[in-house]
Point group: C2
Chain length 292, copies 2
């Protein structure tokens, strides 16, 4: 994991060795606004999954954090119940890299955890906004958490999370307003047109702090996993992810090569010619592509 | 300009024809928070530049707008003084394209206006945030507008505009607090370390609605242009821009090619192999790069 975060030069070799051992883990994305109880829910999920004898890794992704990797003190505390369990691995990852941040590091980190034999990898987004949608793009199943009293109905519609959730969980459902959040959310989800055989995202309720309802969440995750396999959607999602991962790596390789001083910085030579009006940018781009 | 915004297939040919005619125009970026009087200032600048017999184009860039191109009604009204002047061209551009938005279209639009023989191209950002910094990256000189009573000192520091301005203008300087904004800004700029021969950004004041102080702004722009030429910074900035433009075009070309159905979608074939564990993503990226 440190090799991934440090963008180590041995990564290609490492990934080559891991490739045959990947594809087993179920990647579950966990998103939701701050305050809905993401850490508590993750903690409760780990507990339920461990009762079912599943090995669980948690990757807490923070796109805005300047902190380096490792299991941060915060994680240890937040998911303290499982610190000593060898079947649980918890890790924070910050987007401190220079090669494209999370789009680059997250898939490779997931690959490592997958190859390490975990049955479930929970990807929890820390922070808000665009990153949630991005991380959802990395998961097989995405669980969107909500809580009463946060204007979540509107938030949901705004943030586009109605398109990314495979599973909606109203946490803190012992609080006033929980049923209204569920009703509103169901109404909004009902408006979306779905084809025959499409997955209908369930809306569940939990009190993560007491683990109430958490077994139902894991059941729903299992159902979704079965649907993903049977419908062919699992393969489609994974191919889409691999596609974007390979593309990102290829583009990174090329950018490095074009801009490398060792090779005389082709890009600089072309840019000078463009400024002088000797060549247009399209032809320059063509030359770059042809030169590789 | 419509060809640029529509990402027309004839663009490469068009740019090839224009290349020898570029490099004359001075590109001036105009940024500032909403409410500082950007349109009024642009209007006043056009007036002063026309008095000096300069041909002026205005490109109003709105990264958030879904509107299509053309001189929007709003522009015609805002810069109404110059609608009938054949030496003035005003155009709005939205980032509706699919190929990378403003990073892709702005440099090409500037190239067209440059080749068309305008002496000055004013790039005005509509909207806020990151886009301002991006647009500043496209300009030879960047003018940052401020106004009293908007907490601009703090805003300036936050938005990182202290790093992008070649010229600071406190507009609405007939209002209370204008001198304080100037003093604060000067103090903040004074803290930045500058090397010998470096440009010291002036802090000017205007009342754009009456054109007061606007001649001084144009004088300062002329001084900055002279400094850019003499210091070699003009060439450096333009090479940096061309570099990023060529890179963006090359990457776009490659992404299209990799994903094109005509060629059997190499990327999809590789992604399927990655998901099957037959190949790792780095080796797949290598194949993609080698295949071109």
């Amino acid at each position: 994991m440190s090799q991934v975060e440090d963008e180590s030069p041995i990564l290609p070799e490492l990934m080559r060795a891991l490739a045959p051992h990947t594809g087993h883990a179920r990647i579950v994305g966990i998103t939701g606004s701050p305050g809905v109880g993401k850490s508590t829910s993750t903690n409760a999920l780990i507990g339920e999954l461990r009762r079912r004898e599943q090995r669980v890794a948690v990757l807490a992704v923070d796109p805005s954090s300047p902190f380096s990797g490792g299991a941060l003190l915060g994680d240890r505390i937040r998911m303290g119940d499982h610190v000593l369990d060898p079947g649980v691995f918890i890790r924070s990852m910050a987007a401190r890299g220079h090669l494209g941040g999370l789009a680059w590091t997250t898939p490779q980190a997931l690959r490592v955890l997958d190859a390490a034999g975990f049955d479930y990898v929970l990807v929890e987004t820390v922070g808000v906004g665009q990153s949630e949608v991005e991380v959802a793009g990395q998961a097989d199943s995405t669980m969107v958490l909500l809580a009463p009293g946060m204007g979540d109905g509107i938030q949901a519609a705004k943030a586009g999370i109605l398109e990314i959730g495979d599973l909606y969980v109203v946490n803190k459902s012992d609080r006033e307003g929980a049923d209204k959040v569920r009703r509103d959310l169901r109404a909004m989800l009902g408006l979306a047109e779905r084809c025959d055989g499409a997955w209908q995202p369930p809306v569940l309720k939990t009190v993560a702090s007491t683990s109430e309802g958490v077994a139902d969440v894991v059941d729903a995750l299992e159902e979704h996993a079965a649907w993903l396999r049977e419908s062919g959607e699992l393969e489609r999602r994974r191919v889409r992810r691999a596609r974007s991962e390979v593309e990102t790596l290829a583009l990174t390789t090329l950018r490095r090569r074009w801009g490398s001083v060792d090779e005389g910085d082709r890009l600089d030579v072309l840019a000078v010619a463009v400024v002088a009006g000797e060549i247009d940018p399209w032809s320059a781009a063509d030359e770059l592509v042809r030169a590789r």
